[in-house]
Symmetry: C2
Subunit: 298 residues, 2 copies
């Protein structure tokens, strides 16, 4: 396979800022994942459950399948019709749970409204839960116990660590409180001994709080919401947003044009947290695979 | 039964401060609990599992049993020998789970070291988990889904609500990150739309952060740690600490003598969060009992 760029990153005219390149770090991690797969001596298999015809879900699944190919991991996509019953999905998951050829399972979210998402996620065996979203893995995150950490928070932490940005004792402000990102990231950063503030739509004096952060993590899903009014020089800014602007360009929750002359470290969109999330997912697959083999963790 | 004072509160010489009396609120809640039990038409039964001979555990269990008597709730204490095996405990819990006469189950913590606490707690059926500590209830707290909220956080929220202290949009700073109190309280306050900061032993510039709080919740288990240097006028201070000073008096994490001239609202120790925790536990028992009857929740 030709050596092609696996991840996309925009080009910036950078002044005082330092770009935290998820692309560069993900490229390095990819080599580590390849080596780990080679060392296993077999290709782990990831079962991906997809329901219905959402274009975004299909695109995300395809991205995972494509990445898996690069690192030598097998995937199987179990594609169910939009009208699949809960029972049918639960039965399928029960089969994957006991199938020794399946090392990890993910259910691409969101699911159609008639399905109980929580029930279906919890039907994944803890030791195959690559997304880290079962009750038992959420509880482990809460307890700072060694479980599977959801891919986006894990990717954010890896990005910070790769740039040798300290977390312990630092004030991390998390903007947004989704299950998948905001709250999981807050708990993960707390487990890393950060002082953590959780902000959201009801927060008063938001800019005062965001400016008090050493590390600001933005995951509100509102394009270009964070301008230079919310940021001060010297901060680290992690942008978890992903959306498209009026010209169909991919943009994050930070208004890059507004902050581009600031003296900050920032993860761009695209090319920041996105690639890290992909590599983290497959690191999770390796983690559960090695664990089930009784090998050393992480 | 003679009308005796059910909870203890010290007497303070109060200047500008307002005492948030857990005693007074708990007395009122006790009447509500009694009425709710009467309306049920039967006495709910709480099974209390106690292991070994820890004096503090015995004392806590006795307090619960005594309170239950007052409100018309039945209790049964299953007392196991210090050396009980995990299997024996799990078998007992499995019996209580299916026993229709048992409405709620609590396992008094801490357990002896040879027992896997998490495994044992998770053996309690979710619908009988009065302490709210199973993975499924922790996950519900994380998801802001309607589950059983651990008694201390619930008691803190009830105390604030009883004094009509707003939480939504306010900055709540939680000091301490235990499973039972700190982290559970942080998530509960987040679910109530507070902006929440979690601080702990690794937090830098602690007094700057505690002074930025609208509501400061202290649960670090260090007697008299919080002096007037950490507090500013106008704040609400909730003291979850409970310890004994050199004269064997019960004291909290706040140095009361240091803050007594400040213009703050504060929950005292004893007589603040303690009584609220007791009533909240039995409110949880009523919650699961009513839920299992298919009645309205809360």
């Amino acid at each position: 396979m030709a050596q092609t760029k696996r991840f996309t990153q925009v080009n910036y005219s950078i002044n005082n800022m330092e770009i935290l390149s998820g692309v560069e770090i993900a490229e390095k991690r990819t080599e580590v994942i390849k080596a780990a797969v080679a060392e296993l001596g077999f290709s782990p298999m990831l079962m991906i459950v997809r329901v219905g015809e959402r274009a975004d879900s299909k695109s995300y699944v395809n991205r995972k399948v494509g990445y898996a190919t690069i690192v030598g991991i097998e995937t199987e996509v179990a594609h169910f019709h939009e009208s699949v019953s809960e029972e049918e999905l639960l039965e399928a998951l029960a089969r994957y749970n006991v199938n020794q050829n399946v090392n990890g399972i993910i259910v691409q979210l969101p699911l159609p409204k008639h399905l109980n998402t929580k029930k279906i996620i919890n039907a994944i065996a803890e030791h195959k839960d690559v997304d880290g979203l079962t009750d038992s893995n959420i509880s482990k995150l809460f307890d700072n116990d060694e479980g599977v950490v959801p891919a986006t928070p894990k990717g954010i932490l890896t990005l910070l660590q790769s740039y040798k940005i300290a977390v312990s004792g630092e004030h991390v402000v998390v903007l947004g409180r989704s299950r998948l990102v905001g709250k999981s990231t807050a708990l993960l950063m707390l487990n890393q001994n950060a002082t953590v503030t959780m902000c959201h739509s009801k927060t008063e004096n938001l800019s005062t709080i965001t400016k008090s952060a050493d590390i600001l993590i933005v995951a509100i899903g509102q394009q270009k919401f964070i301008t230079n009014e919310y940021i001060k020089d010297g901060q680290v800014v992690i942008d978890v947003g992903i959306g498209a602007d009026l010209e169909s360009r991919i943009v994050g929750d930070v208004d890059f044009s507004s902050v581009k002359n600031m003296n900050i470290k920032i993860s761009p969109v695209p090319g920041g947290v996105g690639p890290m999330t992909v590599t983290s997912l497959f690191e999770n697959l390796l983690f559960v695979t090695q664990k089930s083999l009784g090998g050393t963790d992480k």
